[in-house]
Symmetry: C2
Subunit: 425 residues, 2 copies
Amino acid sequence: MTTRLPADPFRRSIQSVSREELQQYQLERLNQLLAKTLPFNRHYQERFGISHLQLESLEQWSQFPTSTKSEWQSDGIDGIARHHSHSPNRYRRYHRTSGTRGRPMVILDTAEDWDWWTSTWQYVLDACSINSDDRILMAFSFGPFIGFWSAHDACLQRECLVIPSGGLSTLARIDLIRTASPTVLFGTPSYALHLAQEAAQRGISLRESSIRTVFVAGEPGGSIPSVRAQLEELYGAQVMDHAGATEIGPWGFGTADGKGLHVIESEFIAEFLPLDSSITNADPRWRELVITSLGRAGAPVLRYRTQDIVQPVWDRDVSGTEFVRLEGGILGRADDMFVVRGVNVFPTAIESIIRQFPGIEEFRIRAQKRGELDEVAIDIESSEPLQTLLEEALQVQLGLRIPVVPLPIGSLPKSEGKSRRIVRS
Amino acid sequence: MTTRLPADPFRRSIQSVSREELQQYQLERLNQLLAKTLPFNRHYQERFGISHLQLESLEQWSQFPTSTKSEWQSDGIDGIARHHSHSPNRYRRYHRTSGTRGRPMVILDTAEDWDWWTSTWQYVLDACSINSDDRILMAFSFGPFIGFWSAHDACLQRECLVIPSGGLSTLARIDLIRTASPTVLFGTPSYALHLAQEAAQRGISLRESSIRTVFVAGEPGGSIPSVRAQLEELYGAQVMDHAGATEIGPWGFGTADGKGLHVIESEFIAEFLPLDSSITNADPRWRELVITSLGRAGAPVLRYRTQDIVQPVWDRDVSGTEFVRLEGGILGRADDMFVVRGVNVFPTAIESIIRQFPGIEEFRIRAQKRGELDEVAIDIESSEPLQTLLEEALQVQLGLRIPVVPLPIGSLPKSEGKSRRIVRS
């Protein structure tokens, strides 16, 4: 049997049309979504003050109110977000946000919306040429957090062999890599690092394994150069980043150079708003990403403020797509930022520096509010004496003195999902 | 929106045809499977000595060699069972047997075979009237063990709302029952008991919950009257049993009276062989179940010796199906049986007696070989002094003195998957 790459003439052609054509396509899709959604969706009817809407231009769209997570958040015991179009029994899939920030929000998907998830994922899988000969190991727990559920189904749709590993220990997964010979690994960046380090401690190099692509999502690591370099080194594999969110959908895929993300503009409208004025000293090119989904009629995402801070660039990427590029991926989150002695610092920037030291096996960023300002310290686990070197690197690269505290190995928590590496008090 | 029950005229009608008509249907399906499979399947070509086969009667079929698990077991590092029809890249789903007995065996499913799994599951879901208004909580870890993966997809196909809970602790699942209001719970019998007991210890009665059906599989408990009674009591819910196996498929569903299983004879041919002569003192009605699948061309199950000991009855069940009924479900496994002072005892029989004492929270059956015979003892965890009462019940009901050892609560292992309650040395 020969290797099959899925036929994707539309997915290819839509990435090379002019911006005017793309926007015309987005407008048509948006009008279809509004026609299908607004007559049934009370939340947006109230927000917009109308129950029918057809737009003549995207400029018009930019005048409508934005949505925020807190507006969607329900007070009800079921936690189902307020912006659903139908009653719960119309839906098939129950998922929750990870709850990294606050109470998890429940989002339901209809069968049709789930098809939209898996079809949209195909752009991401295209970007690293995943094909029907690939064997996909999902290092994921398959709980209510949406995580890689949609990737799982997208890989099945693409005719790969999918190997689930929920409930397995890291050692059992290392053994599964040996016996099942996966070509692709899906996981969070921090779990992928952990898996390879655990293997290395047992004398097993995953460079020698069958894995050719490490697919990461759920944390910013996939676009942080030092994290990517470490993953590439440990696995001897291509690293592919993906961005998505339970409440939004799978909206982005890694650029060919590994230094950023493309927004899948055939399925999402990206707008870039000036940063909130409370964020001082920001790079003038930084914007907040605002997203509108063009599918998911059951829980439509209309002008949603992601809180993700990005730097958009509209030049043709070497990967040959006209989809807007976000330089450096997600630079940080507006609600994650520290203000240390008047300087804005994103945890991702700190992580990027820590990751320059492969000897650091685990870390934790501790932040404490003192009035408007944050005091930040870093705990590290390392078998080498790296405290002073890291403090120097932080001072050189961020212009800040941040104390580093070495801890015995094994003292910091470790999880397969999104790491909880930031502790605020 | 009104409740929809899936249209199932075929599934209903095939359960009321005469045995002759049913066998004619089975023969046609079997010939289709053989035509599709045998020309490609080296394992069966070697076993049968032919690469083309069309049968004129099922009697003819009963002359062909049986299959056993050990014949299928591979020596290769990948553990993929020998009886697959194609090379691995034709398959989409990777699963392993639970490894309760010996090394796990890897079984792959094509997309078409997986559709057969989920369609066959519909008979099981019919039996407890699961419909599109149901919310299904899957208390399952979604690892490589096939477990409830197929049930998960079958419930989606049936348009239920499916709530995955891989990776969640028992407490998190109890909270999910409170917030997501599932109407149906899927789990192993022992995990379902554990979940309700954990809730009770925290003052939460799952009788007050939204759960109306507890769906059990993976262990014999669902057809053991005392286990069923305990589950019905703890949940105030209907209990539905299901039988299936990674290497076979979803072959049975609980009878209406809860005292046995029906074989889904439209998708499986059941044969009943005399027990191995090494099993002495067996009830003369007992047989070993031998199964042929009528689908799953990618890993066909041809005259497979399940090792399950059953007692078949061909009378029309109150649930209105002509499918053969197995009185008491799976009575035991040929390879599980103890011989205690010359008497055959199945662990399920011991479990059934232990479960008559709801005060026993956990137990373990220890068996030690002494020549041809087994010495058996039972460890129990209980807050009440039940040692003597249980010893008496065992003597009355089995005619055997089996020592019972009380242990402090929490000393025995607990797992969400198949319990490892039998320890042999």
